[in-house]
């Protein structure tokens, strides 16, 4: 168990470290002169001022030294300032982060509930019309672009019926984006739950339980559902990271003020410090979630826990 933990933590740290290198180099891979591109929109910047910015960003130093300076600043929590508005990048991102986490978490709950219920019913009624219809719905869900589903929901419930706001910051504005992201991901969970449950339904212990004369409800709940959920729960961690990725797009459909919306604005404004900060924060988030999931898995699965 300890060895497993050490390995997982080392892998997570390695991932973050590789990301910092990639992010630090980002500004050098950009075609053309990044400083010129960044300040192209703001008029009246003299060549002297551009040179001054280059010196300030350390772009005249050798690459290794730039990386050392970059890491030094990052480790002190200084992610630099945005080009527009000169705000501290880290504060801006941290301020927006709760919105994204809230959206992704609520969506995950919606996706898990719909997916597990659909998948379980489909497995139990395997081969029937119920199974086929549920799986067709799931496949259509998997195939639909989230942003399109979001636009349709927005059109029907916010514009036409006016039940919910088009955009905003309260819980009522969270309903549509969360449903969009949740429904869009429920299909994958439904398909996985179904195949996992079918594996369990075919097992000998289920037949034994039936032969013992246990009530159908008891068998389905205690023996099938709980056993079949283990792979699904593991999958939910991975789903959460996908939700975070999907949130970037959905936030833009609903003008939800998360880090995804901020990131897209940053890309359009070529605000490189903000883009760098976003990638780093997102990377740390994804790595942390995966690590937590691995730890949870280790606690749940006796084969890992006891090794």
């Amino acid at each position: 168990m300890r060895r497993y933990l050490v390995q997982r933590i080392a892998a997570a740290l390695l991932t973050v470290w590789v990301t910092t290198i990639a992010v630090a180099m980002l500004i050098h891979i950009v075609p053309g002169d990044p400083v010129q591109i960044m300040y192209a929109q703001s008029q009246g910047t003299t060549p002297e001022q551009l040179e001054e910015i280059r010196t300030r960003l350390g772009l005249n130093e050798p690459v290794w030294k730039q990386y050392a300076m970059f890491m030094g600043r990052i480790l002190q929590g200084d992610f630099g300032q945005t080009i527009r508005g000169k705000q501290p990048v880290l504060d801006l991102l941290i301020g927006r982060l709760p919105n994204t986490l809230l959206l992704a978490s609520v969506s995950l709950v919606i996706a898990a509930v719909i997916g597990i219920v659909f998948g379980f019913i489909a497995a139990y009624r395997r081969g029937t019309a119920v199974d086929t219809s549920l799986m067709i719905i799931a496949l259509v869900g998997v195939s639909m672009p989230h942003f399109w589903l979001g636009l349709i929901l927005l059109f029907v419930f916010a514009v036409n019926l006016a039940w919910l706001p088009v955009a905003g910051t309260d819980w009522r504005s969270l309903v549509l984006p969360a449903i969009t992201l949740g429904v869009a991901n429920a299909g994958i969970i439904a398909r996985l739950t179904r195949s996992s449950m079918i594996d369990i339904l075919d097992q000998d212990f289920v037949r034994t339980a039936r032969a013992k004369g246990l009530k159908r409800g008891t068998i389905l709940y205690r023996h099938v559902l709980l056993a079949g959920l283990i792979p699904v729960v593991t999958m939910l961690g991975l789903q959460f990271t996908y939700m975070l990725g999907g949130a970037i797009v959905v936030e833009n459909v609903f003008a939800w003020n998360g880090i995804g919306r901020l990131a897209i604005q940053a890309i359009f404004q070529r605000d490189y410090p903000l883009i760098q900060g976003f990638i780093l924060v997102f990377a740390v988030l994804v790595v942390t979630v995966s690590l937590l999931m691995d730890l949870l898995y280790a606690v749940l699965d006796p084969r890992v826990r006891l090794s």
């Binding site: 259509v140 672009p145 636009l151 990725g245 797009v249 897209i264 990638i279 997102f282 995966s290």
Partner: protein, 293 residues
């Protein structure tokens, strides 16, 4: 398929045709094949199918609802949406081919190097692939577009890079299997060079698997690229790219909801088609799945 082909005596050797019949027996896979075929035909004959030039402004009145003269309605410039969706199929197929092609080429190279070389090269290369894999495609694609700048070409490259780890991992695993086969040992014993072994012996053996893997990856690539275009980071106006068309339709939301219908249905149907096709192929190739049916 005529009855004749089905009832004709099957030579024992034609395992492939048996697989193909099994594939056609799967209703979902057949539907997928039909959707993809319709898409390919539409793309190939776009100039004959589309009644108008997709870029022609004022092909009809602005923002008119679907009618016989404009099947899917018109947009804010009076362009015919049906013609735009028809021409958009060309872009979608091109995006799918190029993005998957990039992912396949890079993934294949990395997987071959990692799997064949072994030792520390394997550890470093595959560890890097894991790093890329641990981020979601969306983040990698966004980072790539942030560096390269928004354009359709860059979106295709971004999607290719973002989906590459999937191909690299499968290629790597397949190479490891091939390395245990007798022909591999024989070619090493015969003194073949590294390049010869990799290019002439391993590559032809793993290529069929990788082509199947690529079919499974098409729908992911299409969705990811459409998402980038929707965000304004991919195809640029006046391109009839479906994701971008959806984004443009947003501004006319309540006045012309049909602007969001046609491109959305087109993307969803295309992705559904490739998903069904991929599922069908996977089912034919995975005996465990077949036994369960």
């Amino acid at each position: 398929m005529s009855d004749q082909t089905v009832t004709a005596p099957v030579p024992a050797a034609s395992a492939a045709s048996a697989k193909f019949r099994q594939f056609l027996g799967n209703r979902g896979a057949t539907v997928g094949l039909v959707i993809v075929a319709v898409l390919v035909v539409t793309a190939a004959f776009a100039p004959w199918i589309a009644p108008y030039d997709p870029q022609m402004m004022g092909a009809g009145p602005r923002l008119t609802a679907p009618s016989f003269s404009h099947l899917f309605g018109t947009d804010e410039f009076g362009r015919d949406l049906f013609s735009r969706v028809v021409y958009g199929s060309r872009l979608t197929l091109m995006i799918a081919a190029i993005a998957v092609g990039i992912a396949l080429a890079v993934g294949l190279t990395i997987g071959l190097i990692g799997g064949y070389a072994g030792g520390w090269i394997e550890r470093i290369v595959m560890r890097l692939v894991d790093v890329v894999f641990s981020f979601t495609e969306t983040l990698i694609a966004l980072a790539a577009v942030a560096v390269l700048g928004p354009s359709l070409q860059n979106a295709m490259i971004a999607v290719g890079i973002a989906t590459m780890p999937f191909y690299a991992r499968i290629c790597y695993a397949t190479v490891l299997v091939e390395k245990n086969k007798p022909y591999f040992e024989a070619s090493v014993a015969a003194g073949a060079g590294h390049f010869r072994i990799v290019l002439l012996h391993i590559l032809p053996n793993i290529l069929p698997t990788m082509v199947v893997v690529a079919t499974l990856g098409v729908s992911t690539a299409i969705l990811a690229a459409a998402g980038l275009s929707f965000l304004g980071l991919g195809a640029q106006p006046p391109s009839p790219e479906w994701g971008w068309m959806l984004s443009a339709g947003r501004d006319y939301f309540s006045r012309a909801p049909w602007m969001m219908i046609a491109p959305g249905v087109a993307i969803a149907a295309t992705v559904l088609g490739f998903n069904l096709l991929g599922d069908g192929i996977r089912e034919v190739l995975d005996p465990r799945q077949t036994a369960r049916r």
